[in-house]
């Protein structure tokens, strides 16, 4: 009986957004007479944080505090069109649309402020705390609230903006596959350390160490949510999950969460993450989108670490204890491959 340690790595990139029918998103931004803003969308928050990501992008673009912005989404009567929340498109596509709408609204706001301060709008800036001031002369200022009141009740201006982001669809060449699939990519490299029980085929992931490049992290805590939870899902895909455990045989499909196995709270491991930010030139503040790619490097890294531990290649997902055990038996026993990358 033996447990063998193994270490494996994988590196990946991931396309942000999709190439179908163009990939448009729209956003509307408007202020109430108190200078408080509402972003109106039809994007979906599935937990990935769409509402908060777009809220921060809007606040940053408008130059107002986060508390002065709320996002209202997914009422088809009021929210303008959006393709949907998938393909890692939310931060990039919807974020760009929101930035565009907020920019337009900010333009009106600055014009209204300029009229109140009797200066040129180009000479004004926001302080991010709810005030607009003359560049270089912070005392010549007016609050966003006063601007909004003036715009509504004196100037007859709507502090509002519309935004759309569209990457025109790119035809795929039937002969060569030539196309512009997306505009930017996120990147990752992940190291998995694990242990394989050579008598039962059971794999225990002990640690993950990773570097993710995601463009600008719009909200670092939400990036962490995605990366930690996504890597868990990657581990789950690698070792546990499928509704067809004997694919292509369709029998024995799981009917509940007892039979559809996923790592439990006792199966998780420490994950040491570094985030790199190479801003996407066409992303909102350089944002890309970590939502999907976070899981992807875990699957091959785990498979490679199993090889490192016991010398067997399981090229079929999920890598169940049964597959590992069968491979070890076929090989005549575990053959540890030594430690790549030195001590662990």
């Amino acid at each position: 009986m033996a447990r063998h340690r193994g270490r494996g790595m994988a590196a990946i990139n991931y396309p942000i957004g999709m190439n179908l029918g163009g990939d448009p998103s729209q956003a509307l931004v408007h202020s109430n007479p108190e200078g408080k803003f509402t972003v109106t969308l039809s994007a979906i928050d599935l937990g990935q944080g769409m509402k908060q990501v777009t809220r921060q992008i809007a606040a940053e673009t408008l130059g107002v505090p986060i508390a002065d912005v709320y996002v209202d989404t997914a009422d088809s009567d009021t929210g303008p069109h959006d393709m949907g929340s998938f393909a890692s498109r939310g931060t990039h596509r919807v974020g760009n649309a929101v930035a565009a709408a907020a920019k337009e609204a900010r333009g009106v706001m600055m014009e209204a402020a300029a009229e109140e301060l009797e200066v040129n709008a180009a000479d004004l800036d926001t302080d991010g705390r709810g005030n607009i001031h003359v560049k270089g002369a912070p005392s010549r200022a007016i609050s966003v609230k006063d601007v909004a009141v003036a715009a509504q009740f004196r100037q007859g201006k709507t502090i509002a903006g519309r935004g759309i982001f569209l990457i025109p669809l790119s035809e795929v060449n039937p002969e060569t596959g030539e196309m512009s699939p997306v505009s930017c990519y996120a990147h990752a490299c992940l190291v998995a350390d694990l242990e394989v029980d050579d008598e039962t085929g059971e794999v225990t992931v002990l640690k993950m160490t990773s570097a993710y490049e995601l463009g600008r992290a719009i909200n670092p805590k939400m990036v962490e949510q995605q990366l930690v939870g996504g890597a868990w899902m990657g581990m789950s895909h690698a070792l546990f999950e499928t509704p067809e455990p004997y694919y292509p045989d369709t029998a024995h499909g799981p009917r509940d969460f007892n039979e559809y196995v996923m790592p439990g709270p006792g199966d998780i491991c420490p994950h040491d993450i570094a985030v790199l930010e190479r801003p996407a030139p066409d992303g909102p503040f350089g944002g890309k989108g970590p939502g999907e790619m976070c899981a992807n490097p875990v699957l091959p890294a785990v498979a490679n670490a199993i090889f490192n531990a016991v010398g067997v290649r399981v090229d079929s997902l999920p890598i169940t204890p049964e597959k590992v055990l069968r491979a070890i038996k076929a090989q005549g026993g575990a053959r540890p491959q030594g430690a790549p990358g030195g001590r662990r």
Partner: protein
């Protein structure tokens, strides 16, 4: 379609109600029956309940323990006198399931559930059954399990022998998910020894057949042997004898048979992992 719930103060009344209605089922913790109802099982027309307090009681004496069929896993875990059963009770579901699931219900849970029953089987349990009309009867658990789907009457209690010593009783459940998962297999073993030699060992398996089963061949192979690598070798060789494990979403029959001797060895030698 319309369900009727009937509540009785005594088990004998409940047993009579159960016998008089083909669509009646006795509901205890509800973890099996309520799921079936939620999923549209239309064969259930009546739910029979009992508020009989005796149904939940645990009575112990120095050699035997009688556990009311309505005792829940948390009741077992709260009872210090039943420490030998705690490992088997603790692996039933999560905390909420353990606050609902009863010992009686576990007897009816099909593979890959019902691992508490595996432990009861290794402890030489007998089942007390209240007949529809008339008195109570006792039946060895092993015999009960063979006929449980056809059983009439109402299970009121389970009685088990105390293990010879705390170390003489071992229980292991193998799951894919930690800390809570259903059974790839489970093993319970009562290993009384005198002078380092085993005698009358009882070994039971869960998820190695449609119901928990006794591993008779293993028990025979352990008779008079010592608990060391050489002593248990014949038992390991006979580990899979009599098993008919299923292939399901968790594991194949091949895998269950293949790792059974490994886990049996780990149980017998007290290895971790």
């Amino acid at each position: 379609m319309a369900l009727t719930v009937k509540t009785f103060g005594s088990m004998s009344e409940a047993a009579a109600a159960l016998a008089s209605d083909r669509t009646a089922r006795f509901i205890s913790g509800g973890t099996l029956l309520m799921r079936a109802i939620n999923e549209g099982d239309t064969s259930i027309g009546t739910l029979v309940r009992s508020t009989d307090t005796g149904y939940r009681q645990i009575r112990s004496d120095p050699s035997r323990v009688e556990i009311g069929a309505g005792a829940r896993m948390v009741d077992i875990l709260a009872n210090r006198d039943l420490a030998f059963l705690h490992p088997a009770a603790r692996i039933v579901g999560g905390p909420a399931v353990r606050a609902m699931a009863t010992v009686g219900g576990n007897l009816f849970a099909g593979s890959p559930y019902g691992d508490f029953t595996t432990a009861l089987l290794a402890l030489d349990a007998t089942v007390s059954i209240q007949a529809a009309y008339g008195g109570a009867q006792q039946m060895p658990l092993e015999q009960f399990l063979q006929s449980r789907d056809r059983s009439s009457g109402l299970v009121t209690a389970v009685t088990v022998s105390r293990p010879a010593s705390p170390d003489a009783f071992r229980f292991r459940k193998v799951s894919r998910v930690k800390p809570k998962g259903v059974s790839v297999l489970s093993i319970a073993a009562h290993l009384p020894a005198t002078g380092g030699r085993l005698s009358n060992a009882r070994v039971a398996y869960g998820a190695m057949a449609p119901t928990p089963i006794r591993a008779r061949a293993v028990e025979r192979a352990l008779e008079g042997r010592s608990l060391d690598a050489a002593g248990i070798a014949p038992a390991l060789a006979a580990a899979a004898e009599g098993t008919t494990p299923a292939t399901d979403a968790l594991a194949s029959a091949w895998y269950r048979r293949e790792v059974l001797p490994v886990h049996l060895r780990r149980v017998l030698l007290g290895e971790t992992g």
